[in-house]
């Protein structure tokens, strides 16, 4: 009990501290990699609300990421530069579309759920790809002016990678704390119950489909937020965010890190990017080696890297 309690408090505290001082210690290039890890990590953690906590494998998560990104790019092009407005509108649009997609998808399970979400994702991808008047198609939408923030009277811009990092870090931190609260709430517990046994939930009075729609919508909303951040970070929204191969990223990250641990997907994102950075120094074909590493992880870390390490460390500790 003691070890688990210590780990649950000290772990996140140390992580936040390290992430806060990291930009002062590593070169700018790595600050940018860290920003990317945090953004994709947020996407993976919100995706895992479905895979890990609801037992639903969504293969269309990229669509909501793209909606957030396009919403930010279009607003900035139209001259709206209020940071909070851009974050909120991106989340709101993702929320609405996720609620609609969720409404049609949650009645299905397993591979059928994966296929219908993939289908919706590709439908939205096609819109982004082919509606050239608005999205400029495969060229993507560039962003030239970034929003600014009035920080206690001082005007803060985000053109420097360090400023961008702290913006990403703050938003991701707030989002992850909110997701943590949701996962540990009564809603989160009932959601895990639907993952275990949806029939039993329905036979004690729970509305399984409604619970799933809400989970899907929350997941899509936070993924949309990650998309907004990525558009600001990347200064570009492109249709590739909404392609099914992009939707595979949070799946891979969650499985690498561990779907049974709240921060597992964030660790998965970190491992994913570190591997990419290391392998790419030696060969262009980094996906080949990612494949090899993925196979090894699935075999030797059945609960994901963080999940397996945690359960090894806490072996014999009561739950």
């Amino acid at each position: 009990m003691a070890l688990r309690a210590h780990l649950n408090i000290a772990g996140p505290a140390v992580l936040v501290l390290v992430l806060m001082i990291a930009p002062l210690l590593v070169p700018t290039y790595w600050v940018m990699i860290l920003s990317e890890i945090l953004i994709l990590g947020l996407m993976a953690v919100s995706f895992n609300l479905l895979l890990g906590y609801s037992g639903l494998l969504s293969f269309g998560q990229g669509a909501f990421f793209g909606i957030g990104a396009y919403s930010a790019a279009l607003m900035l092009q139209a001259g709206y530069t209020n940071l909070f407005l851009i974050l909120l509108v991106g989340m709101l649009l993702a929320l609405i579309i996720a609620a609609v997609v969720g409404f049609f998808s949650v009645k299905l399970d397993e591979i059928f759920f994966a296929m219908i979400t993939l289908g919706f994702g590709m439908l939205l991808f096609s819109i982004a790809h082919n509606w050239r008047d608005v999205t400029r198609g495969s060229d993507g939408l560039p962003v030239f002016v970034l929003p600014t923030l009035n920080f206690f009277g001082a005007e803060v811009s985000f053109y420097s990678p360090i400023h961008m990092y702290y913006l990403v870090f703050s938003v991701v931190l707030v989002a992850i704390v909110l997701l943590w609260l949701i996962v540990h709430s009564p809603f989160g517990l009932v959601l895990r119950a639907t993952r275990e046994n949806k029939q039993r939930v329905s036979f004690v009075g729970g509305k399984v489909n409604l619970l799933r729609i809400v989970a899907f919508t929350i997941s899509g909303t936070f993924t949309g937020l990650a998309g907004v951040l990525f558009c600001l970070f990347n200064s570009m929204a492109t249709p590739e965010f909404m392609h099914w191969s992009f939707s595979a990223k949070p799946v891979i990250m969650s499985i690498i890190g561990g779907t049974g641990v709240f921060l597992g997907p964030l660790f998965g994102a970190a491992i994913f990017f570190f591997l990419e950075q290391i392998i790419i120094r030696f060969t262009e074909n980094w996906m080949l080696f990612l494949g090899v590493v993925l196979v090894l992880i699935v075999i030797y870390f059945p609960q994901g890297v963080l999940g397996t390490l945690k359960s090894k460390l806490l072996k014999g500790e009561p739950k």
């Binding site: 709430s185 009564p186 119950a193 275990e196 036979f203 004690v204 009075g205 729970g206 619970l211 009561p318």
Partner: protein, 254 residues
Amino acid sequence: MKSDAVLRIDNLGHDYGKFKVIENISLSIGAGKLSALIGPNGAGKTTFYNAISGKFPPTRGRVFLADEDVTGLPSHRIVDKGMCRSFQITNIFTHLTVQENVAIPLIIQQKKHFKMFGNAFKNGEMIHKVRQVLEQVGLADRGEQVVANLAYGDKRLVEMAIVLARVPRVILLDEPTAGMNPEETENMIRLIKKLASVSGTTFFITEHDMKVVFSLAEKIYVLHQGHLLAEGTPEEIRSNTEVQEAYLGRKVHA
């Protein structure tokens, strides 16, 4: 038609395609009674249960809970109306702890299943209620254990606790002792007897184990090839020749 029955079934029938699995079942169960539905395998017991508990709507007939028509309602609505069931194959939340298993129906009953903040177990009232239910089934010392690690008999008790947590007026138990060893069976019989005597809850169980049925039920309904063959007290059923023939597998003469 007003009646003091807490559960009343009128002319219930269900078809799978052209095959009439159950047909013309009418019965009426008074409040606080412990009744049993028996019948050889394939008699239609589970189909009957599924049709009245909202797993699927029955093809024909009506189901009333204390005079309110609940025919064809989805399962979660029927639970809200006061009838909750167990399943023949243990139906619980395997990778959650025992207390979480019990907290889930309580959270749903209190309409807190869309509450996004706060922890269910930081609430003193919730802890107290979970403990009460676990004490009823004798699992109070197992609260923190993950259900997957429990013995089979204890898993069946967890399902009983899940059902009890909703404090239903009518509890349907589908073969509550299926797969249990003699000691676990004994224990379950004692538990059902105790619950029925103190709570005023109406129990309606299906069983194929005659010993269990005769030691528990005040009233027995016999289902045979989808029809109600007989109903009565255990003594009446025991001495009914038609029932004996049905169970021995001989042809029943009408």
